[in-house]
């Protein structure tokens, strides 16, 4: 079955732009990215769009479809009624470059600010041994494809540009959680308490656990339940739980 769909696609650049109307053919089984490609092929040869795998694994084709942050390659046309207007815009939390392409370097900056895995002392690389039960929490977070849909939808930065400096965003707070739960990470030996630093240096407190990151994650990672809330609890251990705090002080003094 083929039908003609009504699309609105944002066209423009840093100087401005608008939503342009297109009538375009849609076939059974197609996804939004197919339609964007058809527009490029037939009516808008200069339409800028970022994509790569068309399989929901590279995280390139993030955009907003009818106002919802999604991967265009994983958004089936069958979820829309044939007479429904489909509006496609670039991610609205990041600076636009052109058409559907945004500048996501905010995320790379934030990624660099998270201290890397600290190798355990006395264990040569290649000799790391971990039990499956100890790594499986972190492994959930490794499913991330870095599409930055969570970063885009999080109201902390989406609605408040001024918070971008202080807030790492769900994807990178999750990265801190991943390392904090890593069975071999030795950051604490170097005096880096990752959970406390998440709150002090990466803006964990800005998150009000309203779960939009989890709602949009195409990998269905339970970002809020499994990374952010546990990280908040770990920070509380270090910062507000007098017993745990005292225990850690005493233990550290004993070396």
């Amino acid at each position: 079955m083929t039908h003609t769909a009504h699309f609105k696609v944002w066209r423009g650049d840093t100087d401005g732009g608008d939503l342009r109307d297109y009538e375009v053919e849609v076939n059974d089984g197609e996804v939004v990215l197919d339609i964007i490609h058809r527009l490029q092929a037939t009516q808008a040869a200069d339409l800028a769009v970022r994509w790569n795998c068309k399989a929901g694994k590279c995280g390139s084709c993030s955009a907003e479809v009818n106002g919802r942050p999604r991967l265009m390659c994983m958004t089936r046309m069958s979820v829309f009624a044939p007479d429904e207007t489909v509006t496609v815009t670039p991610l609205r939390a990041f600076p636009v470059i052109r058409d559907l392409v945004t500048d996501v370097s905010f995320n790379y900056d934030k990624a660099r600010q998270v201290p890397a895995f600290v190798p355990p002392k006395g264990v040569p690389a290649g000799e790391y041994r971990m039990q499956q039960v100890d790594v499986e929490r972190s492994q959930e977070f490794r499913k991330c494809i870095e599409c930055f849909l969570c970063q885009d939808t999080c109201h902390v930065v989406r609605d408040h540009e001024e918070n971008k400096a202080a807030f790492a965003g769900p994807r990178f707070l999750m990265r801190i959680a991943e390392l904090d739960m890593h069975p071999l990470d030795a950051a604490a030996d170097q005096g880096l308490v990752r959970a406390a630093s998440a709150q002090e240096d990466h803006g964990l407190g800005y998150c009000n656990i309203t779960k939009c990151c989890s709602e949009v994650c195409p990998e269905h990672i339970k970002i809020t339940d499994n990374a952010l809330i546990p990280l908040k609890e770990r920070a509380i251990d270090r910062k507000y739980d007098p017993l745990v705090w005292l225990g850690s002080k005493i233990r550290r003094r004993q070396g």
Partner: protein, 274 residues
């Protein structure tokens, strides 16, 4: 209206900030995104109004052998005698208000700082955000980084306090297996209502995120703590349903209280099973 007197005019905020794709609509969602915050806010408001009325009413909260969960434990000397129940008159006669007010702060604090209810009221009442990718109306946002919201971090202490409260409500349910004269081996519809309520309260309490952390989430090496790992798995399974349990236990508390109210005020007699 935008006269340039304020440094950040609404027009330049968030998704409308310079640099972002120039789209004048604050959001482009076409689904009924407003339904969920509306339902949440309405349901919470109804419960708050009902519970406030009942907490201040100071009457019709006991009908042997049933006690309303809002009035247990009953700690003031103006409490009805509950025949072996949790009416411990720790507060003297100086307390003239409803005894419910003395204990309700604990469940109230527990639910108010609960990670799920936080999400619910931040979205439903504060519109922060109203729904995902729908612009929030506030000019500034600091989340839970400073007073008063930084106090949400005390949630685990309310969790600790919720355990004895749930224990006392369990005791009330045990006593509901006596008849109105204190003889064991009775069960009425009220017993069943209280039993369902306490099961939901325990499930809600144990599904708490702080509980999940304390039980095992804080550990780094599950392999070294097999028992806690298993408990963590169970709590995690409950935790996945935390929202469902938050609502069902809230409703069951209301229903249990309403049931006691209706029986105590003589609207109907408690049907007896045995």
């Amino acid at each position: 209206m935008a006269t340039g007197t304020t440094p950040t005019t609404p027009a330049a905020r968030g998704v409308l900030a310079p640099g972002r794709a120039a789209i004048s609509a604050p959001h482009l969602r076409t689904d009924r995104w407003w339904l969920s915050p509306l339902v949440t806010a309405t349901a919470l408001t109804i419960f708050i109004i009902y519970a406030t009325w009942r907490a201040f009413a100071n009457g019709d909260y006991y009908s042997a052998p049933y006690v309303s969960p809002l009035y247990s434990p009953c700690l003031a000397s103006n409490c009805t005698d509950m025949n072996g129940g949790a009416d411990w008159h720790l507060f003297g006669a100086w307390w003239g208000l409803s005894p419910a007010l003395l204990v309700l702060v604990f469940p109230l604090g527990f639910r108010l700082t609960c990670y799920y209810y936080r999400k619910a009221y931040y979205r439903g009442f504060w519109a922060s955000p109203p729904a995902c990718a729908v612009a929030e109306p506030h000019a500034k946002y600091t989340g839970e980084t400073r007073l008063p919201l930084i106090l949400q971090n005390v949630h685990r202490y309310f969790f600790y306090l919720a355990l004895p409260v749930a224990g006392i409500l369990t005791y009330d349910v045990v006593l509901a297996f006596r008849d109105e004269h204190g003889a064991w081996g009775h069960a009425g519809l009220g017993t069943l209502v209280m039993l369902v309520n306490i099961a939901l309260i325990w499930a809600y309490t144990l599904s708490c995120h702080s509980c999940r952390h304390i039980i095992g989430g804080k550990l780094r090496h599950f392999s070294a703590h097999p028992v806690r790992y298993r408990l963590w798995g169970w709590v995690g399974a409950l935790n996945g349903r935390h929202m469902l349990l938050a609502w069902s236990s809230l409703i069951s508390v209301g229903v249990a209280d309403l049931y006691v109210y209706l029986v105590a005020s003589g609207v109907f007699d408690d049907p007896r099973f045995f």
